[in-house]
């Protein structure tokens, strides 16, 4: 009885709030997502939303059968491709402001394949994992359970197919199970395959395998060396020599640099910066990701172990925008992290749950324009996030700085500060602008607030140089005076000593 009354009271309260609030606030699309950032000490600070969930689209909303364990997404212009692994199909969706709609379902292709099921050529997919669509509409599909990579034209005619390469670099016992694929402008393919941990497999345009790139450097520790010295040959053979990182996802940006992510690392290595869960590879496989933040990009800086979630963020997908900001998705806590090109955390948002903007098991992230699309593999739905005014301001400030308009950038940062007084990058951005304007003292104040020692040191160097140049006269006078002090002290001591001698001599002669 009591409970019912309470419920009624709560209902009444909600009704009042809805009635009183202006329509804009009560609007169902304005769902808040919990957004935060970290300060210098690694403490979380709540932040206004930079991205807000707009809509959630699943199979029912699209008018097709429900998605079953979808694994990957890809966007090209206004097309969104979804690899619906469990249903062995690929969906092409059209992205419009009003929402998503199905363009076509790709379940097979035409052409001559070497993969046979008995006598029948296999012209359908079996557990496809990833798709890459080239600018001309060619599709590259990793058809994992058929052990092949397919290259189709936009009308689903087979152009070529790649089976397991005949190479001594690959273990002959393991089947070739391609997982993720990206293709650069010249048609070179970069592939991640199951049970291959030597890096990213690189295929020529014609389809022949040329080797690996981006294998992580193996750090050989002192402890390992000592252990190896004292172990027998049999023991040594049992040890796993070195296990380089196995990547779990790839993304190729508009400058043909490949972003890769990995979830295999020791949590203890995160602080030291040796874990590197996110990397950006150049064409030689060198890691060129800039890590200028207090922590290298790695998702959450600190975490608790609760509600079945434990440990560091495990990043499963990444997407990079044209301004080189990039967004990653953490499968452990369903969170999204945005970074700028310098590796500073811009904002973190999202979380685990069933509401709009929260995820059960996010698996893929893509962007169209400034919107983010996140695919949940368990619920089989796509959540669209749109950037808020706060997010727009941050990106405008970053863009202005990139083109060299430091004053313009500072103006945007001022607006960001008005919305979020804890926003670290805003202070540093304004400080940098003052530094450019040669107002070193103000710049130092801004840097000191956020404990940016590098920039502070730079500003201080110029400030000190200016100060000495302006006050050179005084500096010289002070130095000269300091130089003379010992001489003067010596002189005074001598005079005092002589006076004392004189006095003692006189008093002695008086006594006599």
């Amino acid at each position: 009885m009591k409970l019912k009354r309470k419920f009624a009271a709560a209902l009444l309260a909600v009704a009042t709030i809805v009635a009183v609030c202006p329509a804009g606030v009560a609007n169902a699309t304005e769902v808040n997502s919990y957004t935060y950032n970290y300060d210098y000490w690694g403490l979380e600070y709540e932040s206004p939303d930079a991205y807000r969930p707009v809509s959630y689209t699943d199979g029912a909303a699209l008018g097709i059968t429900a998605l079953k364990a979808p694994k990957s997404m890809f966007t090209r212009d206004n097309s969104l491709y979804i690899v619906d692994s469990g249903n062995n199909r690929i969906l092409e969706l059209l992205v419009e402001d009003t929402g998503l709609s199905v363009v076509r379902e790709i379940t097979g292709f035409t052409g001559e394949t070497k993969v046979l099921n008995g006598e029948e050529p296999v012209l359908t997919f079996n557990a496809p994992q990833d798709i890459y669509v080239a600018e001309n509409g060619d599709m590259y599909i990793t058809d994992q359970a058929n052990y092949r990579i397919l290259h189709l034209d936009k009308d689903c005619n087979l152009i070529k197919e790649m089976l397991k390469p005949d190479s001594p670099l690959l273990d002959p016992e393991n089947p070739f199970e391609p997982n993720k694929i990206v293709v650069d402008r010249s048609g070179r393919m970069f592939v991640l395959a199951k049970n291959v941990n030597k890096g990213v497999m690189q295929f020529e345009e014609e389809g022949n395998f040329v080797g690996f790139i981006g294998a992580s450097e193996v750090v050989f520790s002192m402890a390992d060396m000592i252990k190896k010295t004292f172990s027998t040959k049999a023991q040594r053979d049992q040890m796993i020599d070195f296990v380089p990182t196995e990547y779990n996802n790839l993304y190729i940006d508009n400058k043909s640099f490949i972003y890769c992510t990995t979830e295999v690392f020791e949590e203890a290595d995160l602080d030291a910066g040796t874990a590197k869960p996110i990397r950006r590879l150049n064409s030689l496989g060198g890691d060129i990701l800039i890590r200028n933040g207090e922590m290298p990009p790695c998702g959450d800086w600190q975490w608790g172990d609760a509600a079945g979630m434990s440990g560091a963020s495990r990043i499963v997908d990444i997407t990079a925008m044209d301004d080189e900001t990039y967004y990653v998705v953490d499968r452990v806590r369903g969170r999204l992290f945005g970074y700028d090109e310098q590796g500073h955390l811009l904002y973190a948002f999202g979380g685990p749950g069933n509401q709009l903007g929260y995820f059960t098991y996010p698996i893929a992230i893509e962007h169209v324009g400034t919107d983010l699309y996140v695919l949940d593999t368990v619920t089989g739905g796509i959540t669209r996030f749109a950037r808020t005014e706060f997010g727009d301001l941050i990106h405008s400030a970053l863009d202005e700085y990139d083109v060299g308009n430091y004053e313009g950038s500072a103006e945007y940062w001022e607006e960001v500060l008005a919305m979020n007084g804890n926003y670290e990058l805003a202070y540093i951005g304004i400080g940098r602008s003052y530094l450019r304007q040669q107002d070193y003292k103000t710049a130092m104040e801004y840097f000191e607030v956020m404990r940016d020692d590098d920039n502070y040191s730079r500003a201080w160097k110029y400030y000190r140089k200016d100060w000495i140049e302006n006050n050179l006269g005084y500096v010289i006078i002070v130095l000269v005076v300091l130089g003379f002090i010992p001489v003067i002290v010596k002189k005074i001591k001598k005079i005092r000593w002589e006076a004392k001698e004189q006095y003692e001599y006189e008093s002695e002669s008086k006594n006599k």
Binding site: E448, D453, D454, Y456, S457, R458, W460, K461, R464
Partner: protein, 220 residues
């Protein structure tokens, strides 16, 4: 000038002399520590002053070192745990060292050990304070050298402690090193005993409280 004032003045002069003597010890440790106790050129007052200055130096360095070289979170600092963090190891060392050297024919009394330890802290005071000030006038790159001065201060102080053990107890170098090593072990034993004592006492108190409760419940 009456007698009382004269005595006061001589006490003040003696204090000043003994404090100034710390500078001599810094540069002439072998001579200095011998005379410190055997010629009574040191004083307890000066030793206490040096200990307090050490603590203040530590505090000043925490507060006034430029943030580029300083990661102190002031909202997390507890002044009493700072005091304890400096005093406890030093005093433990004095006790442990005295206990040990008394058994192994050391000549020093506890007062001498204490004075030797306090006078050994002089280089830390004299080096850290200027470094704290200088840190506010240098850039990051130049500041890299400041760390070496910190090591210098601590290394110097440690050497002085070693020599103080040698001279005060009339030990050879090897014996002094052993004495310091075993003092460290002794410090740990003392800490262990103290913890054991407190846990036993708290258990005993809990026992009597529960007996009292039991009686109250049964009887009434």
């Amino acid at each position: 000038m009456n007698l009382k004032a004269k005595i006061n003045k001589s006490a003040w002069t003696r204090y000043k002399e003994s404090l100034k003597y710390a500078l001599y010890i810094m540069t002439h440790p072998f001579d200095g520590f011998w005379d410190l106790t055997h010629e009574k050129r040191g004083s307890m007052a000066a030793a206490n002053t040096l200990l307090i200055l050490t603590f203040l130096t530590n505090l000043w360095a925490m507060r006034f070192t430029n943030f580029m070289f300083n990661d102190v979170r002031w909202e997390r600092v507890n002044i009493w745990s700072q005091v304890a963090g400096i005093l406890a190891p030093l005093l433990l060392y004095v006790v442990a060292n005295w206990c040990l050297t008394t058994l192994f024919d050391g000549k020093g009394r506890m007062k001498d050990v204490y004075m030797g330890m306090c006078y050994s802290l002089t280089p830390y005071i004299l080096i850290t304070n200027p470094i704290t000030i200088i840190s506010n006038f240098v850039t990051m790159e130049e500041g890299a050298f400041l760390a070496y001065f910190d090591y210098l201060a601590l290394g110097w102080a440690f050497c002085l402690i070693l020599i103080s053990v040698m001279q005060i107890h009339d030990y050879s170098l090897g014996k002094a090193i052993m004495a310091i090593l075993f003092s460290a072990v002794g410090m740990m034993i003392i800490v262990f005993l103290v913890m054991l004592f407190f846990s036993l006492v708290s258990d005993a108190i809990a026992f009597f409280i529960s007996i009292g409760k039991e009686i109250l419940l049964r009887v009434y």
